[in-house]
Amino acid sequence: MPIIQAQGTEEVHPDILLVNRAREGDVQAFEQLVKQYDRQVFRIAQHITQNREDAEDVVQDAFLKAYEKLGQFQGNSKFYTWLVRIAVNESLMRLRKRRTGRMVSIDEDVETEEGSMPRDLAEWRPDPEMLYGQTELAEILRKTIQGLPPGFRVVFVLRDVEGLSTEETAETLGLSVPAVKSRLLRARLQLRERLSRYFRKNEDGTK
């Protein structure tokens, strides 16, 4: 199997070294990649499928598929973004299976105007996360993001939570850069609006 070479004097990303070792049959090198990225892949799958069982299956299928297809990985994108693309496709497939007869796409419900103009203009309390315990806060964050249309949610998760660049997010989802930017802004504003309920300063200064 061909080994990915560094372009010119550029330093080789450590993932590429692991990919090359895995291609030569070193299964431990691939296990190292699994350890590095299983959390992120699980989070992405859970955000898209909204179902824990499906998300677990997606993690397994995505890594096994990546392992099978290592030979097709060209090294012109990061291994992580290549893996995320596989995981997003697997997640959408699971979602389709669960909603048989209904097409599922990342374009669903993106025409909504909700949240495009800020309505709640109250300031938030300083350190608003401290108002709630960890479990309660996680529940608020889950409930809030679950309410977003899938096409906004996936863009927000890839771009703001998982740290992909705008271009990587666009490539992963098959969207244009302006479409990613527009969805990202709408997602951020909708989440802000919904979180404001929990974090805003009340007029009398109480929680």
Partner: protein, 78 residues
Amino acid sequence: MNCSEFLAQLGDFIDNQVPTGLVADLQAHLEGCEHCVITMQTTQKTIQIYRNHEIYDLPPGLRERLQAAILAKCKKGC
């Protein structure tokens, strides 16, 4: 610049991707508009909160099951 024009640039402004020529206009708008200051600050906080809090933990045993599946696949031929 009005609030709608500011809002249209908010995403790029937060990500430091606004063309240099526009930055001064956006900052000038912020100086006179408390609502846009609040919208920007709370939007930045929204992103920060989601980035800093892991809301879905890796289920126990998933990593081990995954590694076993990869090893099984490898034994069949890798």
